[in-house]
């Protein structure tokens, strides 16, 4: 062994001391509870005792119609929530970033700052402000649509089963568009001038320059944004809870996994809270997020070429 040949170095205590606080807090408050939650999903409270029941909670979650209907509904809604973000938030973010990064653009700092404002606000503010704006009582939204002659299209979107989830997704898009914008903007700024100049020498300018030169170079950032969106969406809770309450009305049409977990864990109205079922749902969310992250790490990231300048 190498240790026999090399003189043994004294144990470097300072490394342990530097690492200890972070590792201890992180392990105790994050990793162990996460593991504990996964473990809890395999137990059930029978006569005040936690009894190991294997995968029974999951069988209930998928087999018992009381649970499975809600679970699949929440999952479906969550997927739609994510699709809207990918289709609306990220393209708008990329477009704004592309416009912002155009050289010699005046007021770029102002636009950047202003468009990022919704991102720093809390869900409570965002949810309530939009609830007021879309409320037929106040009449701001119908009034504004009247100005462009579209008043007939107005309905109380948040109150209709078929529109509520889409409306909430768009509100969430409105709030978070600043994040893809900033990250893409950073990526666009890091493209060296020589590459752009070479493209211009070849006569590639404007839109075709964006599609052919810049977009391939920012694909890694778009990948990161997609996975951040995925994790954020499948973990979302606050906006739905603020705007529609824990019952995710109307008629559960805006229920996503976060609100479903909250109701299962704490109970609501007639339903009694059940930590074990809550843990089972959290485990499912964990597996979904882990799956997404793995797809990203092993399929997407390895295929995207990173250009080192």
């Amino acid at each position: 062994m190498a240790a026999d040949i090399r003189p043994k170095r004294p144990f470097r205590w300072h490394i342990a001391i530097f690492l200890a606080p972070a590792v201890l807090v992180y392990t105790a408050i994050m990793i162990l509870p996460l593991a504990g939650t996964l473990q809890l999903s395999l137990f059930r409270n029978i006569e005040q005792h936690q009894v190991f029941v294997g995968l029974d909670n999951f069988r209930t979650l998928f087999g018992d119609p009381n649970w499975s209907v809600n679970f699949w509904n929440a999952l479906r809604n969550n997927v739609w929530f994510f699709i809207i973000h990918m289709l609306v938030q990220n393209p708008i973010g990329v477009m704004l970033a592309a416009l912002l990064s155009s050289p010699r653009l005046r007021f770029a700092a102002f636009y950047r700052t202003a468009i990022f404002v919704p991102t720093i606000l809390s869900f409570v503010i965002v949810g309530f402000a939009w609830k007021l704006i879309l409320s037929p009582l106040w009449g701001v939204a119908p009034h504004m649509m009247d100005l462009v002659g579209l008043k007939s299209l107005f309905t109380p979107w948040l109150g209709k089963e078929e529109y509520a989830l889409t409306a909430l997704s768009l509100i969430s898009v409105w709030q978070f568009v600043g994040i893809p914008m900033m990250l893409i903007y950073a990526a666009l700024l890091s493209i060296p001038d020589e590459v752009i100049e070479a493209a211009e020498c070849d006569g590639i300018t404007g839109l075709s320059q964006f599609w052919k030169i810049k977009l391939p170079l920012i694909l890694p950032s778009i990948g990161i944004i997609s996975i951040l969106t995925f994790v954020g969406n499948f973990n979302a809770f606050d906006l739905i809870y603020t705007a529609q309450g824990a019952l995710a009305g109307p008629n559960y049409s805006t229920d996503i996994l976060g609100t479903f977990l909250y109701r299962a864990f704490f109970g609501f109205q007639l339903q009694v809270g059940d930590p074990n079922m809550g843990a089972a749902i959290a485990t499912m969310m964990f597996l979904i997020i882990l799956g997404g992250v793995c797809v990203y790490l092993f399929l997407v990231q390895t295929r995207l070429r990173r250009y080192q300048f």
Partner: protein, 279 residues
């Protein structure tokens, strides 16, 4: 100068799109703040006009300040945010220094372990976190929130800070070692001041989600003494559904401190994002 003439319509187009989007982004915020200074008749009669002397009214603000214990909630939020921030920055910087400065067995494994938390949200462990807090008697204390937020903020802080600490010159640290400085002095006296700008970036990134979080205050500390301003606003808004003056005033009071801080620090935040730390 043919390029200049050709790009003029394009410039105008770019400004048009950006202005439109800026308007969309700011409209709800401006609308809420504007209407919070109006009387009830003004709010409903002409929601889109700024307050005039006729419609100007502070009734909403007097209701909010008279009813909710907002000053107290505000203090709670401030204590939780500042304390969590302090621990995230201190512990995060220490761990980042250990990971970026020393070669030891398990270094990259430790880095990976700490980075796990960037992708896996701490919320999924809520069930067990609540049990832990109940068992240790920390439910309904600000300590519980501070601990959770410290754990939540650490992964990203360690990740970003260790990227920056790698850039600190080795010669400087070695010069310090030759002069007989201990590793602790090197960290606190030499390295920390040099990475101060990146600490500010991490601070902003850590601060916003903590200040705005609703989930953990709702679950771990919902009592009257420990409510944060986000939770307080949520409950207050739920109670005063029909009092539009009070709701708009409460929303404005919740928006303004964040907005003011943002305007002061936005340059720092944007420089942090665009400096490539999060690439």
């Amino acid at each position: 100068m043919s390029t200049a003439t050709r790009s003029l319509p394009r410039t105008i187009g770019a400004h048009a799109i950006l202005l439109t989007y800026t308007a969309i982004a700011l409209f709800p915020v401006i609308l809420v703040i504007m209407n919070s200074f109006k009387s009830r008749a003004g709010i409903f009669g002409a929601p889109l006009t700024p307050p005039t002397p006729k419609t100007f009214d502070l009734i909403g603000y007097t209701t909010v300040i008279g009813q909710g214990d907002f000053i107290h909630y505000f203090q709670n939020s401030l204590v939780v945010t500042v304390a969590s921030l302090f621990f995230v920055l201190l512990f995060g910087a220490m761990a980042a220094f250990a990971l970026s400065e020393y070669r030891f067995r398990g270094n990259s494994l430790m880095g990976l372990y700490l980075a796990l938390g960037i992708m896996i949200p701490i919320r999924l462990g809520t069930v067990a976190i609540l049990q832990l807090m109940v068992a240790s008697g920390l439910v309904n204390t600000l300590t519980a929130l501070i601990l959770v937020y410290t754990a939540q903020g650490l992964p990203l802080a360690v990740f970003i800070l260790s990227e920056f600490m790698k850039q600190v010159s080795d010669d400087l640290k070695n010069a310090g070692r030759i002069d007989g400085l201990s590793e602790y002095t090197i960290f606190f006296r030499l390295v920390l001041p040099l990475v101060r700008p990146s600490m500010a970036t991490v601070a902003v990134f850590t601060m916003i989600p903590i200040w705005n979080d609703l989930w953990f205050p709702l679950i771990l500390a919902p009592s009257e003494e420990t409510k944060t301003v986000t939770l307080g606003a949520q409950l207050f808004l739920g109670q005063f559904v029909t009092n539009w003056n009070a709701i708009l005033a409460a929303l404005s009071l919740a928006i303004m401190p964040v907005l003011i801080l943002y305007v002061i620090f936005s340059r720092q935040l944007i420089r942090g994002i665009t400096s490539g730390a999060v690439k």
